[in-house]
């Protein structure tokens, strides 16, 4: 069973990883293209049309290759994660249906107009279609992220043991939960920064080759603005994410920082090496090496220099801070007990249902409801089963932050140079074309940064598929290991082929240059 869970998780991670190779470029390049077309619409100069059509072509390639790759995740829900899929069905139904409407009726329709309608529509209508394509893509992402956020912080629902589903009781609480709003903004803005970095990288390649210099400089100027706006807003919403995680997923925050025992004025580790021998109940030092910012985590998580941030041991022992006071919450040992009571109540409910005993049914129902917030903990026998992989979460979080910091500096310098000293962008230092090389290296870095962000979000909430309610071990279907392994390999091959196709078609178009993109 363990191997099926591990393989199914690996398969889901692989699919999500590849899906997220395409999506942020669609969102980031989309906004860039829409801005270029708006500039052209206002200035009506051919040079802006050339820019717009070239980047629109790259946008179209990415869109076409990446489209529908996310549907495979839904296949996996139904086959590998059927218990989970049924359990969340009522909550996921509405957001995913709305996402489908946005994706297929809004996004795809206007995408067709945007790509093929230059000669069939007026400039104003075409511009509207371009903006509606990117707005549709962005809002379809909203609904996916609403579904994801609900798993991280289940709100606006009530469990119905008859239907065996979490039934939505408040659509607005689900759609506009603070976690969802923050996640949406953080994801979309970080995609803008990715789009900006991509544009700068491709443009820098032209500078390196000494081709299409004016085109490249204009692209860097606008792409730089998109990128820097994106990264600044990403940092701002990242702060909001940290506050939300501190509030609703303290275990994830503790894992992100490798924090086992909290304190008032908790430092933030800027760089560190996690001690692999550290467990929540031994006395080993959690870090082998660290460079810390004093009180940084307290500021990050609670916007208070002296706030208490609970560590993994504190959380397990039921120690947290509410309204500035150190209080005892429910310790994990008690959560496990109450989870087991909830599961026993579900068993009694099932028996009472079958025997038609309404009194027993009512009693089981009330016991289940009273202990339902801890339902998932009943699947554990030891408290450490509820701790995520600290090393993986710590390193991916810090890598994301380090690359994010680098991207901020890089985009800022690139933008200043593009507007103030553009000749330095293609200048060489000891025969080394510094900016083009940095710009090209930054392209894979920004993707690594994105993937790390998702690894933090998803590995950090392990072992839960739905926070506190359903761990991965209970969410899994009874599928065979061979079946999951086979589809894992098929996906790995399929997605790799798609990625190679995307890269080769894009590289071919980039080599052709902007002139070839003009109809």
């Amino acid at each position: 069973m363990e191997s099926v869970i591990t393989l199914s998780r690996a398969q889901f991670a692989l699919t999500a990883f590849y899906h997220w190779m395409f999506v942020p470029l669609t969102l980031g390049l989309g906004i860039f293209v829409a801005i270029l077309e708006t500039i052209w619409y206002r200035k009506r100069k051919q040079e802006w049309m050339d820019l717009c059509k070239f980047w629109m072509k790259l946008f179209g390639i990415n869109f076409a290759i990446g489209v529908a790759t996310g549907i495979i995740l839904e296949f996996e829900f139904g086959t590998n994660w059927s218990n989970y899929s049924w359990f969340v069905g009522d909550i996921f139904g509405a957001p995913l249906a709305i996402e489908g409407i946005f994706a297929f009726f809004c996004e795809s329709t206007f995408f067709a107009v945007m790509m093929f309608g230059w000669k069939k529509f007026s400039p104003r209508s075409h511009l509207a279609a371009t903006w509606l394509t990117i707005i549709g893509a962005t809002f379809s992402a909203w609904w996916i992220l609403v579904a994801n956020s609900w798993m991280q912080h289940p709100v606006g629902m009530e469990f119905n043991p008859d239907q065996m589903r979490n039934v939505m009781t408040d659509f607005w609480a689900v759609a506009f939960s603070p976690v969802a709003v923050n996640k949406f903004c953080h994801t979309v803005f970080s995609s803008w920064s990715l789009g900006g970095v991509f544009v700068l990288g491709v443009s820098a390649w032209y500078l390196l080759k000494g081709q299409h210099i004016d085109f490249a400089l204009k692209s860097i100027k606008i792409g730089g603005i998109v990128g820097i706006t994106g990264i600044l807003l990403t940092i701002f919403t990242g702060d909001g994410s940290a506050v939300q995680v501190t509030k609703v997923q303290p275990m994830k925050l503790a894992a992100m920082e490798g924090l086992y025992e909290g304190q008032e004025g908790t430092p933030l580790i800027g760089f560190g090496i996690v001690n692999p021998d550290k467990t929540y109940d031994n006395d080993e030092d959690p870090m082998l090496f660290e460079i810390s910012i004093p009180k940084g985590l307290s500021v990050l998580g609670r916007h208070d220099l002296n706030a208490f941030i609970p560590g993994i041991k504190d959380i397990i022992d039921g120690k947290d801070v509410i309204d500035g006071e150190i209080v005892n919450t429910v310790p994990y040992s008690e959560r496990i007990e109450r989870g087991k009571i909830a599961q026993a109540a579900l068993r009694d409910y099932d028996n009472a249902r079958k025997s038609g005993d309404s009194e027993a049914l009512s009693l089981a129902d009330s016991t289940l409801k009273a202990n339902y917030p801890y339902f998932g903990y009943g699947y554990f026998n030891k408290v450490d089963e509820a701790i995520p992989n600290v090393q993986l979460v710590f390193y991916t979080f810090h890598l994301m932050v380090i690359i994010g910091g680098y991207l901020l500096i890089y985009l800022l310098i690139a933008l200043i140079l593009a507007y103030r000293k553009p000749h330095l962008l293609s200048a060489k230092w000891k025969k080394i074309p510094v900016f083009p090389l940095i710009a090209l290296v930054s392209i894979p870095l920004v993707w690594i940064c994105h993937q790390c962000g998702w690894a933090v979000a998803e590995v950090g909430r392990q072992p839960w598929t739905i926070q506190d309610i359903l761990p991965v071990g209970a969410a899994i279907s009874s599928v065979s290991e061979a079946q999951v392994l086979t589809t894992f390999i098929i996906f790995a091959v399929l997605f790799t082929v798609l990625l190679i196709a995307e890269l080769s078609i894009m590289v071919k178009q980039i080599k052709k240059g902007p002139a070839e993109s003009i109809d």
Binding site: A64, S82, D162, Q163, K340, G378
Partner: protein, 54 residues
């Protein structure tokens, strides 16, 4: 072959693999009954897993 044609070919092949092969042969939904049957299956599964865990 133009870029547009290449992309259409890739999209069609991808959709064919996804919906005519993967969906049909590898990703049949596990829960295929009525809502009541599915609820009972999930209830039994979750109870059984909890029994195994204990």
């Amino acid at each position: 072959m133009t870029v547009g044609k290449t992309l259409w070919v890739i999209v069609l092949i991808k959709l064919f693999i996804m919906f005519a092969i993967l969906r049909v042969f590898f990703f049949q939904p596990v829960l295929k009954g009525s809502d009541e049957q599915n609820a009972q299956t999930v209830r039994s599964n979750l109870i059984e897993i909890s029994t195994d865990a204990n």
